[in-house]
């Protein structure tokens, strides 16, 4: 049956050795009220039929492989070299548990140590952890890390131009501790850094942290240097939240005085897979490392003095500290961190930078064309707001964005995100992302489609 290997004879012998008459006998000591009859679920299937069944279900999806994906907003359609999928298919890696036994887990441990180096350096920080669940939960952890460091609970100030789902996740996360964050509305699509700084100052002794998007939800990138100074002067920590993919090309938060950098690492080689599994990352100054949540891999030596790696600073973690732990996280997303490792290793610094350049140039191209279209009468585009972006930007439409996007979809284009989904006042806006993967033909098709939408 399935992957249970027992033959009838083996089962009989084993039951006899265990002193049981039957399989059911092994459960004889359970109160009978707890036992259930047959479950009302479908019959099991052999692999042949199951494959066909799953292909049928898959065929009901129209994925970004079939459609031209201009949708970003926290999940990005990048080119992932096939080597990443090949390497991640190694049974030694993906069928291992958390590396509790370092002697036979040097593979995963060294890869995670290398990943920590790569992701910390990309964020422009000293250290990073071994991974968290996703961008939303990483932000919750970052805020709680700031609470532990400052010893304060209130005074959590959030940029209103953060991903709405991250904001919601943080509300749930710190709401559990009775803390209500204050949210500072953006100016259009740009984070209101001055208002964030003012709010931090006004919080006085209560200030824990300010969390700002970089790039923010609308794709905006603003220098955070001044904000970092202001927040530090007010006695709090500055947290930057954003995809790390652009940081090979643009100034990373760690270079601008940001204390904790966190977000979603999916863009670094992890498929979009309908929202997960992804890889939350968190990086910081080394002074904060003991406040970090989750696993950390450190370098050490074995009895013979050979360099090796092991999980370290475990005294922060739940299995030792229990209710006093820095976080409850146990299982993280190591395999996705390894995917990010393979992606970053294969691309290298030049490849990541080059991909970034292509995305920026292509996004600029589409943005320019849409802007030109806004001057023409029949098009669906009203205007294209001006602000500094990387590869994602907001477009204002003449009719509800939802209608425009539907027209694009009919042409095989995932045209972007209807911002009215989160804010009724933005129902005539859509968020458009252009990664390096979008071809000039796809960009032209996009322009042609909105010209008449």
């Amino acid at each position: 049956m399935g992957y249970i290997p027992h033959t009838e004879q083996e089962r009989t012998e084993m039951l006899a050795a265990a002193g049981a008459k039957s399989l059911d006998d092994l459960f004889a000591h359970l109160p009978k009220e707890t036992k259930c009859g047959p479950l009302p679920v479908p019959h099991g299937l052999g692999e042949m039929e199951l494959s066909a069944e799953m292909r049928k279900l898959a065929a009901k999806n129209r994925s970004a492989v079939e459609l031209a994906c201009f949708l970003g907003a926290g999940a990005y359609d990048h080119f992932i070299p096939p080597v990443v999928g090949e390497l991640i298919s190694r049974g030694e890696l993906y069928t291992a548990y958390t590396p509790y036994q370092p002697e036979i887990s040097q593979g995963v441990l060294q890869l995670i140590y290398e990943y920590q180096t790569m992701i910390a350096s990309l964020a422009g920080c000293d250290v990073a952890n071994a991974s968290l669940y996703d961008g939303g939960t990483a932000m919750v952890e970052a805020v709680q890390m700031a609470m532990r460091h400052t010893g304060r609970m209130k005074g959590v100030i959030l940029d209103g131009a953060l991903h709405p789902y991250y904001l919601d996740t943080v509300r749930t996360g710190i709401g559990a501790l009775g803390v209500e964050p204050s949210v500072v509305a953006p100016k259009g699509c740009v984070s209101d850094l001055a208002a964030l700084a003012a709010k931090a100052k006004a919080a006085g002794e209560e200030l824990t942290c300010v969390a700002v998007g970089y790039p923010n939800f609308f794709g905006s990138i603003e220098d955070l240097g001044k904000l970092a100074e202001d927040v530090h002067a007010a006695g709090g920590l500055l947290v930057a939240v954003g995809t790390p993919w652009p940081f090979g090309l643009i100034k990373p938060p760690g270079h601008m005085g940001v204390d904790i950098v966190c977000g979603e690492g999916q863009a670094l080689g992890v498929p979009m897979q309908y929202g997960g599994p992804y890889v939350g990352y968190i990086a910081s100054d080394k002074a904060l490392v003991r406040r970090m949540p989750g696993r950390l891999v450190g370098k050490t030596v074995d009895v013979q003095g050979r360099t090796c790696y092991t999980l370290t600073l475990q005294a922060r973690e739940q299995h030792i500290r229990r209710e006093k732990a820095t976080s409850n996280i146990c299982t993280n997303t190591a395999l996705c961190a390894m995917m990010a490792h393979f992606y970053m290793s294969c691309l290298g610094q030049n490849g990541l930078k080059r991909a970034g350049e292509l995305a920026v140039s292509k996004a600029d191209l589409l943005r320019g064309k849409l802007k030109a279209l806004s001057q023409t009468s029949g098009s669906a585009i009203k205007s294209v707001p001006e602000y500094a972006v990387f590869h994602e930007f907001v477009v204002e439409t003449k009719k509800p964005a939802a209608e425009v996007l539907e027209k694009l979809l009919a042409k095989g284009i995932l045209g972007g995100l209807d911002l009215g989904r989160f804010d009724a006042a933005r129902k005539n806006q859509m968020l458009v992302c252009v990664t390096e993967k979008r071809s000039l033909e796809e960009i032209d098709a996009y322009v042609a489609a909105v010209a008449t939408a």
Binding site: M1, G2, Y3, H6, G19, A20, L26, C36, P38, V41, G44, L50, S51, E53, M54, L57, A58, N61, S63, L71, G74, V83, Y94, T95, A96, Y97, Q101, E103, I104, I112, T117, A120, S121, L122, G124, D126, S131, G136, T137, Y165, D168, T169, G175, H255, Q273, Y274, P277, V297, R306, E317, E323, T331, A334, S345, G348, Q349, N350, E357, L358, D364
Partner: protein
């Protein structure tokens, strides 16, 4: 092995992207403006440190590291409490189909009907498996499920104006995530003692119960591998005191298709699909920790969720009393694609066979080893069991750590050791149902040989492993001379 950074060759080319800018585009540096560009600072630690290598060099680096790593595909991996069962390859193949792997989480529902159907049907299946009324797929691991579940309980008490319940009871034997999750929800954690038999101490529980208790978190089978035989009594005691019952279902494999937390009267349960439902553990994750609840808690479940109308599926956030969002999107969807594939493999007839054979394998190995090692608990085991070194072994200086490391020399991954904390020198062995008798017999033989060595040549055991890629690791140095990353200055 050398770090990948030490192999890096400056300027190594990659074969992925065109070197020329696309026709008609502006240069990225001009678009961004000079001030926005990354420049490398004085501090080497803050400089970009991605290696520059050929793809082949990266492949060899990783495969070199694979030789220093074992997974369940490599060897028997009886890691207690972790359910290291075979990860069927069809699960991987299905999850990697572009129609699943290539789905953007914010795509319109009408382009995601396949995934939505999988998620919807898996939710229904998990309801049946646990005996609960509703399931959320949002939580991304067991601990995340616990945290979500405790928030649901909090929302429930709050909705009834019962805000004085500030305590969560957690047995001393519980996994560390239980108290940590409760604390992250702002609760005071009260430890409940266990009996010498390894079960919840009913007197201790009685003493702790009161109108300030929000819930009891119970793992069943518990972390010692025993079914809590008083579970119905426990359930009644807690409910009578106005508390809710949280079921840590990490050990669900033991009772899959045989017994259900819902039928035991529990209000909330989380499952670890990266254990029970065969999704691979990935060297530390990702997992999936869906949560099931009884009717009275369903309105508080997190958003979003999948809604079915006629034959159409849609993602919805229409749940006014919801605790809110617990992650960015809808949980680890592609882990669920694997879990669903597994669920359909076994189905009605097969699921109970999983639970039964998991227990059979554990009972068999226990029967074979209980005279060689000390068996501290006399209750019948479920899917896993605890052994200790005998007094004679301990007298020779051979401890659990040594036996575990010696198993490495025999080609096995060690069991879980020193967990649960309430049993000294614990070796927690969980074979799972996917191991054959032949494999188990060889393991038993190795354990017996080690027992003999422990008495006759204790040094051999104490100094193990002898054949691993590295020997015993200096954990103290790792924590003292903290080094969490490569630095180009080294």
């Amino acid at each position: 092995m050398e770090l990948i950074f030490e192999k890096s060759r400056k300027g190594a080319a990659d074969p992925y992207f065109p070197k020329e800018d696309p026709a008609g585009t502006r240069k990225a540096a001009d678009v961004l403006g000079k001030g926005a560009l990354r420049t490398e600072p004085e501090d080497v630690n803050k400089r970009l440190a991605l290696p520059e290598l050929s793809e082949l060099e990266v492949v060899r680096h990783v495969l070199g590291l694979c030789r220093r790593q074992v997974g369940i595909d490599s060897t028997f991996y009886p890691l207690g409490s972790c359910t290291m069962k075979y990860n069927p390859k069809i699960n991987e193949a299905v999850s990697r189909m572009p129609q699943f792997a290539g789905m953007h989480p914010l795509q319109p529902d009408n382009t995601a009907q396949g995934t939505l159907q999988v998620l919807y049907e898996l939710e229904a299946g998990l309801c049946h498996v646990t005996g609960m009324d509703a399931v959320t797929l949002n939580p991304m691991a067991g601990a995340h499920g616990e945290w979500t579940g405790i928030l649901l309980i909090k929302a429930y008490h709050d909705s009834r104006g019962d805000g004085k319940r500030r305590k969560i009871l957690v047995p001393t034997a519980a996994h560390g995530t239980n108290p940590a999750s409760a604390a992250m929800c702002g609760y005071e954690v009260v430890a409940i003692p266990g009996t010498d038999d390894g079960l919840v101490d009913l007197k201790g529980l009685e003493a702790a119960l009161g109108d300030d208790v929000a819930a009891l978190m119970l793992t069943n089978p518990n972390t010692l591998g025993l079914f809590e035989s008083d579970i119905l009594k426990i359930q009644k005691m807690v409910h009578d005191a106005g508390g809710q019952l949280y079921y840590d279902g990490a050990n669900l494999n033991a009772i899959l298709g045989v017994a259900r937390p819902g039928d035991m009267g529990f209000d909330v349960v989380h499952m670890n699909l990266h254990k029970t439902f065969s999704t691979p553990h990935g060297g530390g994750g990702p997992g999936a920790g869906p949560v099931g609840v009884k009717k009275h808690l369903a309105e508080f479940l997190p958003v979003p969720f999948v809604k079915k109308t006629g034959d159409t599926y849609a993602m919805s956030s229409d749940r006014p009393k919801s605790i809110g969002r617990v992650g960015a999107f809808y949980g680890n969807s592609n882990v669920y694609v694997r879990a669903y594939t597994y669920f359909r493999t076994y189905g009605k007839e097969g699921l109970p066979e999983v639970g039964k054979h998991a227990v059979l394998n554990a009972a068999y190995v226990l029967a074979k080893l209980q005279d060689t090692y000390t068996r501290p608990l006399k209750h019948p085991c479920m899917h896993e069991f605890i052994l200790q070194p005998t007094k004679e072994m301990l007298a020779k200086g051979v401890r659990t750590l040594h036996i575990a490391k010696r198993l490495i020399d025999y080609g096995y991954h060690p069991p879980t050791i020193y967990f649960p904390l309430v049993v000294s020198e614990a070796m927690m062995i969980e074979p799972t149902e996917t191991e054959s008798k032949a494999t188990l017999d060889k393991f038993v033989e190795a354990m017996k040989k080690i027992a003999k060595e422990a008495l006759e040549t204790p040094e051999l055991v104490i100094n193990a492993p002898h054949s691993a890629p590295v020997g015993k690791v200096d954990e103290t140095k790792a924590a003292k001379d903290l080094d969490l990353r490569f630095c180009a200055c080294e």
